[in-house]
Symmetry: C2
Subunit: 315 residues, 2 copies
Amino acid sequence: MDTLIAVDIGGTNIRCALFPLKGNSHITIKKIRTLSSRGKSEKPIDRLISCIEEIWPKQGRVLGICAAAPGSIAVNDGVVLLAPNIPGWKNIPLGKTLENHFAVKTLINNDARLATYGEWKKGSGIGHSNLLYYTLSTGIGGGIIVNGRLLQGEIGIATEVGHITIHADGPLCSCGQPGHMEAFSSGTAIEKYVHDKISEGKSNAEVFNNEVPSSAEIAKAALAGNPLSKEAFDRAGYFLGIGVANYLHIFNPSCIIFGGGVSRSGNLIFDPFYASLKKHVLSKRYLENLTITTAKLGDNAGLIGCVEYLRDTLL
Amino acid sequence: MDTLIAVDIGGTNIRCALFPLKGNSHITIKKIRTLSSRGKSEKPIDRLISCIEEIWPKQGRVLGICAAAPGSIAVNDGVVLLAPNIPGWKNIPLGKTLENHFAVKTLINNDARLATYGEWKKGSGIGHSNLLYYTLSTGIGGGIIVNGRLLQGEIGIATEVGHITIHADGPLCSCGQPGHMEAFSSGTAIEKYVHDKISEGKSNAEVFNNEVPSSAEIAKAALAGNPLSKEAFDRAGYFLGIGVANYLHIFNPSCIIFGGGVSRSGNLIFDPFYASLKKHVLSKRYLENLTITTAKLGDNAGLIGCVEYLRDTLL
């Protein structure tokens, strides 16, 4: 049987899955920790290779491998330029390494972009030719479909969707630049806002179990009526509306999909987001026939995206 | 002989040109004022039809008409949703009107987007598959090529490139929203900045011939050493750098083209723009192998864009 291998590399886990050439369900799936346990010096790339070897089929051919990696990828060269969550991953020729080892065509792409591909082909975005996907998580990643094709850019470092300045005098982003959308509307931004207010003595931390509450805890506190927590989500949603209005003016899409942990806080973020989006669009036309929805494929979006991307590229 | 007709509709003039099916030079060109002289009530659309009739060939077929219009266009329907510079142009079914009158396939698109098409096919953008075009004029318009295709969006109202919020607390844009790139870096924004400073008594107007100097006059004054004028261009260039960095992070293009009156002020705007762009990009990779240049086709970009767009669409 002909097969395809999908790999989703995260800061915590690597997941490898063997898929049939056609069909939606994987044949085998395996998960390992990205970093070896303390004391062992095995590199993430060696662990990744072992993981693929373990699911390699005993019979039949593997026609291609696609790996989703976090961070900035030079897609055409298969090089991970920088993956901040994986120690030492800077200018890693991941594509060539896997291709040399397995002697199989290998594609490398950004994880959020491949999740976009998965949601577009098999999830909430089916049938749309102009689509935006945002994953609201620790940071804000995503992907964009234009004219029925994935937007990747000249060397593959396009769609850094969270890294757009929406407030030139705003708070610093994780990347060091001021006022990016990610610095207002990511999980980290929500946590930082609450933490800063508590540190400034403007609110008290009694409602939280931890001194540095997570965005999920803040969401819980907001639902229980805590004003500071509500305020943090209102702010995140408001600025998300400003940022997404920018994207509507640039792309005029027919579908927007939100994934990631923060999107699971539901109305807490989406109510202020919608209000802000309506206020900031140039014209109501941008909202007519626009589907705004949440991701459908959950943690499997990346793996499914890998397989669909392989199929469309190879076949 | 088979021919094509290109039409460039502006707030001041309408220009119509007859082109051969193949070849770069027009056969006939005609220009009329968009509005009739005082006292006459002839509508712009009737004047446009007369202008096309005048260049209509005596012999041979016209295979298509393409009209470039200012403002927001529902491209698929050929409807001018809103053209603020042309009195009464709101929801004008321009495509159907011309198609019914001339019985010829007619395409309608935004003027800056067709200028982008012209520069891409015959001007400064030849050979690039991922390209950004900005016209820095009264406002900021433009167009975007992704994966070798024009970005238009679902109904054709994409690439409102000047209308992205880069400073949520910034000055109001012509559209009424705060802090758009256009509100910092257009000719109008430069003029407003100087005018406001003079009104506030923070500078004097002696250096200018007019009470409300144009951006061209301000450029002249800046070159002659006037500090306020220099400051106005520094500010415009700085914020243009922030806005364009956003676009680099989204599109990772290989070419950026600037057109429009303000781009003719040269280093006055481009020196602070480059400095700001370098400061605001996520990584130097976005600037490697990136061509930044000015438009080549001048006032003819729109007409040439119309013809190329017709050729690619019809043939």
